[in-house]
């Protein structure tokens, strides 16, 4: 047994590039750098939130961590086992430890299988339990996620979105995993149902000692559920910090803009708020800009940002950021000017 203080998940310089083929001979002419050098740890029992806009690579990152892709480079260590290079048969033995809950419960449940069969499938594949034991386990799982046992023989179409997501969660729990990647588990649900599912995920975490990678674009929900948060932009993690400091005093200009763009459901505060409206769109990950990926939209951009990609480094204990504003080699005068620009753009 491993020491309890070592992280359950350790990702180092993870890269996932998708090749682009073009021309008559379908030669590879480039690559979409969906995930381009991402490193983080996830401690046992914690929830790491992974946030970013669509196309920033957060879902690809979540899938790559579970080796649903053959990764381009980097190291993935889960529960002390390095799986970055593992073969499919080795991975199969690891699968019970690591599971996934998908975004769209409609698409991720087989419409021709009953709920019981869906939840039992991982048990069929990975365990040698008897039929009676499996049925008992399925019913226990349905209890755990708050589904009525009487519905075991029904098909997914007979359930609402929130209930379907519960089925997906029960299936992920079937093999007593340690680590679950939740890929936008609430994005397809109505607001009144989102809270039900988030509370369920939290209860299950407490009960079974689960570790989550919670991928979402909903910053207020991530603040609620995650212990630490990683912010991604164009294939890279730009900031990683514990919840409180990240939301109270974000360091990276992108994190600041992202947080200020979240609509606040309170008209008085919405008026008082300074909003940083970023100009333009996210560049294509097939053709990222030179230097820092955020330099095309950054309100605090400096000359150095257009030349050199900032390194992802620890600036305070537990707080990581990839930005020249927090690096020593940028001159003090330049930083002061950049800060001033940023203040100006807030007004």
């Amino acid at each position: 047994m491993l020491d309890e203080t070592t992280p359950l998940v350790r990702i180092r310089d993870l890269k996932m590039h998708f090749p682009i083929y073009s021309g008559l001979f379908r030669r590879q002419t480039g690559a979409v750098k969906a995930v381009d050098g991402v490193s983080f740890d996830i401690q046992r029992g914690e929830t790491l939130g992974l946030v970013g806009e669509s196309g920033c690579g957060k879902s690809t990152c979540g899938r790559a961590v579970l080796r649903l892709y053959d990764i381009t480079g980097g190291a993935i260590e889960i529960d002390g086992v390095e799986i970055g290079e593992s073969s499919q048969s080795d991975l199969r033995r690891m699968r019970p430890t690591m599971q996934m809950v998908f975004q769209d419960p409609q698409a991720s449940l087989n419409p021709r299988m009953t709920v019981e069969a869906i939840i039992r499938e991982p048990l069929d594949e990975h365990t040698t339990l008897s039929k009676a034991e499996k049925s008992k386990k399925v019913l226990e799982l349905m209890d755990a996620v708050g589904l009525n046992r009487r519905f075991a023989k029904r098909y997914p179409h007979a359930f609402s979105g929130g209930q379907r997501q519960r089925v997906g969660i029960a299936r992920a729990l079937a093999l007593n995993p340690k680590f679950i990647v939740c890929d936008e588990p609430i994005a397809a649900l109505d607001v009144s149902i989102q809270a039900q599912v988030v509370n369920l995920l939290e209860d299950l975490q407490e009960e079974f000692g689960l570790t989550y990678l919670f991928i979402s674009h909903d910053l207020s929900m991530v603040r609620h559920i995650a212990t630490r948060i990683a912010v991604m932009y164009l294939g890279k993690v730009v900031e990683l910090a514990p919840r409180a400091p990240l939301y109270d005093a974000p360091l990276h200009p992108y994190t600041r803009a992202l947080l200020s763009a979240v609509p606040e459901p309170d008209p008085a505060k919405a008026e008082a708020r300074e909003r940083i409206v970023l100009q333009g769109d996210v560049p294509s990950p097939a053709n990222p800009p030179e230097g820092c990926n955020f330099c095309t939209r950054c309100p605090a951009v400096m000359d150095v940002c257009r030349r050199i990609d900032p390194t992802f480094q620890e600036v305070e204990p537990g707080r990581f950021v990839a930005c020249h504003l927090y690096e020593d080699h940028a001159s003090r005068a330049e930083k002061a000017e950049a800060h001033a620009n940023q203040q100006g753009s807030n007004a």
Binding site: V191, S192, Q196, H224, P265, L278
Partner: protein, 332 residues
């Protein structure tokens, strides 16, 4: 702001029913509201609450069958839109009333240039010549903040990003100087930073052009930042309406109250546990004979199961359909 201004759109007792296999779905039940000139009315509700169907009903955008508008009156510029002939309605749609849909990917035609699609309403509603329409189209693209507008007229929708496409949709809706703009979840398919851009753009355009806007969304955060007045829908009915500050500061209906507490807020202390609205939204198999929220309502009393509450007044332009909030005695 637009207090006392005249209503440009007035909807009374709208009822829309869909005929489906084995029964009916009562999607919109007795919905009434008005829209004042220059006002931005936010319509909030979960999926299936009837907010989109209401707006599509009043413009005759629903195919019939299965849709059947049973009752109601929609007064716009002195005419009842539910009674006028199709040709008049076609003139109103895309002309005097503009429409922006949720998904900019699917609502633009991929095989025509963006310029062609902006010029289409200009040519058909305003009978502009080709070159005049092109000039106006360029103006519109500049108005919605698309750089090098002239050149981009000849581009196809796939050459635009999601946020840019939504800007094009807004340009099309604004083409004929509408009096009313209906925007159905215009930012839902967009990222937060792009959403912020579109919200700023819409505020700006509303001030500049002085049109009235109906903004449909499920996101209370968006509504708080943009609306003058808010209408909350649940189970095909209007359950509460009030000026925006009043609604957020002093909600009367238990559903509105629950919605406001169930979403985590960035500016507030993090709650240990989220407040939950138990249960599921109602299935609208028949016209409501009781309060449709009663099964999920923490404060339900016996009368809620016997009668469908009417909308009770709570002061200036604030009403809510709830017996408990109105303190109606249970004997009634």
């Amino acid at each position: 702001m637009p207090d006392g201004a005249q209503a440009v759109l007035d909807v009374r007792g709208l009822q829309t029913v869909f005929k489906v296999r084995g029964g009916e779905v009562h999607a919109v039940n007795d919905v009434s509201f008005d829209l004042k000139a220059g006002e931005l009315l936010g319509v909030v509700g979960e999926s299936g609450s009837g907010k989109s169907v209401t707006m599509m009903s009043l413009l005759g955008l629903l195919p019939s069958p299965p849709a059947d508008i049973r009752q109601g009156r929609v007064t716009f510029e002195g005419k009842d839109l539910l009674q006028v002939d199709p040709a008049t309605l076609r003139d109103v749609r895309g002309g005097r009333i503009g429409f922006v849909f949720q998904d900019p990917m699917t609502s633009l035609n991929p095989v025509f240039t963006v310029g062609y699609q902006i010029m289409e309403p200009l040519r058909s509603h305003m009978n502009l010549s080709k070159s005049a329409a092109r000039d106006r189209a360029q103006e519109l693209l500049e108005l919605v903040g698309i750089p090098s507008a002239r050149a981009r007229l000849d581009d196809y929708p796939h050459q635009f990003s999601g946020g840019m496409r939504q800007r094009v949709m807004i340009a099309i809706a604004l083409a004929c100087d509408p009096k009313v703009l209906i925007a159905d979840e215009p930012t839902t398919a967009l990222d937060v930073t792009i959403q912020a851009q579109i919200i700023e753009l819409m505020k700006d355009l509303r001030d500049k052009l002085g049109m009235a806007v109906i903004w449909i969304t499920h996101d209370l955060g968006v509504i708080a930042g943009i609306a003058d007045r808010v209408m909350v829908m649940y189970g095909g009915q209007v359950v509460e309406q009030a000026p925006v500050k009043e609604l957020f500061g002093n909600p009367k209906h238990p559903y509105t109250q629950a919605l406001l507490t169930t979403i985590p807020k960035l500016s507030e202390e993090r709650a240990r546990r989220l407040t939950v609205i138990e249960g599921q939204p109602p299935i609208l198999g028949e016209a409501p004979s009781a309060c449709s929220f009663r099964d999920r309502c923490p404060r339900a009393i016996p009368i809620c199961a016997r009668r469908n509450p009417p909308r009770f007044e709570f002061g200036d332009r604030h009403d809510a359909a709830c017996f408990v909030a109105a303190e109606v005695s249970d004997a009634g």
